[in-house]
Assembly symmetry: C2
Homo-oligomer: 412 residues x 2
């Protein structure tokens, strides 16, 4: 009788054990763990709540910022880089969100998860799991601001291509050939006014983000991750020209935007920070502004994702500054002939990516009319020099369904 009792107790004990361990959430190494806290936001949930959490693993602690996701939901996201148990404790100026504790189990990677990409051996890249990463990128600057169907087509095209990096903008693009109005905006609309010409103009509440905008962007970055594609995410760009005003926000807003973006998305392993596309063409920002904003990104990113800044043709930033992990340049001169691309390796002692050398296409513009052979030649000139060259496609055919992949995506 006693033996039967022991047996039953053992069974119960085992069931309990299995139960608690299955209750313990499991997250892949370089995957994403999310803490979700519900609380009726007092005032402005974006600006009035300072939420963070300390995650403690076997031998490291990491402090990450939380963010308000709208609808009285606060989130804290974390990318574990070590296998094992991680415990967390929240810290918040709102007592109900403070000192919340929990834990999760970080487990081995599966599938195409090779971890975050980092600089390796001065000039090259490796995934965190040690696998080499050779960037062969293309550009789809405004793809997440196009119609949903086009976005799906872009993903299908990328799935059938071999690119493993895309340059893409967080903010919508207003530029010749790319004039589509986006469905979502990063900020709440305060009001819609009419300018002197009677044209509608949105006035933003720069203290309130639009979580739907960022959730959509996150979904697309996860879609790319599924395809094994790194997202070289462009934080600022000059292609606005007063249409939305996102190129001319004050630094107070710029910094708030960076902190919100990094709190939401630094835990996405396939993100690189590109401070700007054509930084020097953003006329509202000074050189000191770029230094400040770059330092803000680096300080707000607990994982130290790859970070660089891209200028207009032959406008080089001071890539020797420690914030920049690699050199992201627009310049065709180094890839026009053999022997030149390597020069910049010797200057900077960092990986060199020629992130814009012109586009394979049939536009009349100087930048958009390489033949496929010329584009391949340019890429080859970089590769044989131990550097990397980003592809770009700017074919525009008469078919009305065609879009220019360069900025909109679609079909190659």
């Amino acid at each position: 009788m006693k033996q039967i009792l022991y047996f039953i107790l053992s069974i119960i004990f085992i069931i309990l054990l299995l139960d608690t361990s299955s209750a313990q959430q499991k997250v892949e190494r370089w995957g994403r763990f999310e803490v979700l806290l519900k609380h009726t936001a007092p005032g402005n949930g974006f600006s009035d709540v300072n939420l963070s959490a300390t995650f403690t693993g076997k031998d490291t602690s990491v402090v990450v910022s939380g963010f308000y996701d709208g609808g009285n939901v606060f989130k804290i996201r974390f990318m574990p880089q070590q296998i094992g148990t991680w415990n967390y404790t929240t810290s918040c100026n709102i007592p109900e969100l403070d000192d919340k504790k929990g834990s999760f189990e970080c487990i081995k990677t599966t599938g195409n998860n090779h971890g975050i990409v980092r600089v390796s051996e001065t000039y090259n890249f490796k995934y965190a799991d040690g696998m080499r990463y050779y960037p062969f990128g293309t550009t789809i600057y405004a793809w997440t601001h196009m119609a949903q169907g086009l976005q799906e087509l872009t993903l299908k095209s990328l799935k059938n291509a071999s690119f493993n990096k895309v340059r893409m903008c967080v903010l919508p693009k207003n530029y010749g050939l790319v004039l589509e109005e986006p469905e979502l905006y990063p900020f709440e609309i305060k009001e819609v006014v009419k300018d002197e010409k009677g044209k509608e103009k949105k006035v933003w509440d720069f203290t309130r983000f639009n979580p739907a905008f960022f959730r959509h962007l996150e979904k697309r970055i996860d879609d790319l991750s599924q395809l094994g594609i790194e997202s070289d995410l462009i934080i600022f760009h000059p292609y606005d020209n007063g249409r939305w005003g996102f190129d001319g926000m004050t630094n107070e807003v710029n910094i708030r935007y960076i902190k919100y973006l990094t709190a939401r998305m630094a835990s996405f392993r396939n993100i690189w920070w590109s401070m700007a596309n054509e930084w020097d063409l953003v006329k509202q920002k000074t050189h000191d502004d770029w230094d400040l904003l770059t330092k803000t990104v680096v300080a707000s990113d607990p994982y130290r994702h790859l970070c660089s800044i891209h200028g207009s043709t032959a406008n080089y930033y001071e890539y020797w500054k420690p914030e920049f992990t690699h050199v992201s340049i627009q310049d065709e001169a180094p890839v026009l002939n053999p022997g030149a691309a390597a020069i910049l390796r010797n200057v900077y002692y960092k990986p060199i990516i020629y992130d814009e050398v012109g586009y394979e296409g049939n536009l009349t513009s100087r930048w958009g009319r390489y033949s496929p052979e010329e584009m391949t030649y340019a890429v080859w000139m970089g590769v044989i020099a131990g550097t990397y060259v980003t592809h770009g496609e700017s074919f525009m055919f008469k078919n009305e369904k065609d879009t220019i992949f360069w900025a909109k995506g679609g079909e190659f």
Copy 2:
């Protein structure tokens, strides 16, 4: 009678006036004024006497270091950059050399004196008088260490050529094809010992300079000045390899050497400081050493002569550091094809001088066998890109009288 008296007094007065004004020494703008003080040196005149002078002109004061020139003679040299009267007062830890006063008159330039060469419009150069200076240099690394007759021949050759800059080493050179023992050494010989192989080896007194060595160098730099040639003076180099040990001196000695060199020669308007030829091949010096020594040169030079550092092929220093007025590079890659030379302008925002792209010559070495056409092509590739390329000649003919101009000078 009274009128005659007045007349005689006037004559005397005029004579006195003329006399005092002729007693007032006259020095051309960007010329050299020298204070000579005699005093029996107590102990070691090089290290035990701290002599300087403050020169005060119309609206500036400049403090310059003095130096011991041997034979109980102390000197202070000064290059005035403003026309007008300059007064000076010495300062010294030896009372007999302290608080000596005097003055001189700085007058307009004559002849080919256009002043010190400075950076102009970011990428270019001008003499201080506003005349453009386009550097077209050649190299005669060890010419001042060759036999006197050869040095005279070199000057004759330069007079008939059109080069306006030469790269030349302060210290003697021990290198394949350049093995001549110099007549003069920069330091006093303490003793001559024999090494294990019975070979004589000089032991230097690194606390005592050899003024004759420096006087000779100064004469040669003045000779070049007469020809309108800038002296790109190489302070350190790796071509010693234990023969004299000048590449492996301690930093205490290196700094003393820099201070002595600059005290003697910063007042020579046609000097540029080249911290090194092939800095990275000087195995005894760390990168931090080069930073320290460069800062020492800049701090010891009251006129801020042009200053750079030269590495072995494609070994670039951090030319963005403020000590470097321009970029002095050994690299042929930028001048092999059109379009590449300008890249470095965009990187550094300083004048770019490709100070070694290979040599026009008939040596078997890779670096010494350009045809004249190839050399001209390389120079042209630099010039059309808004940069500057230094020539070099390494023809070696069977005639025993021939020397390789590259390092020894002689005839082109």
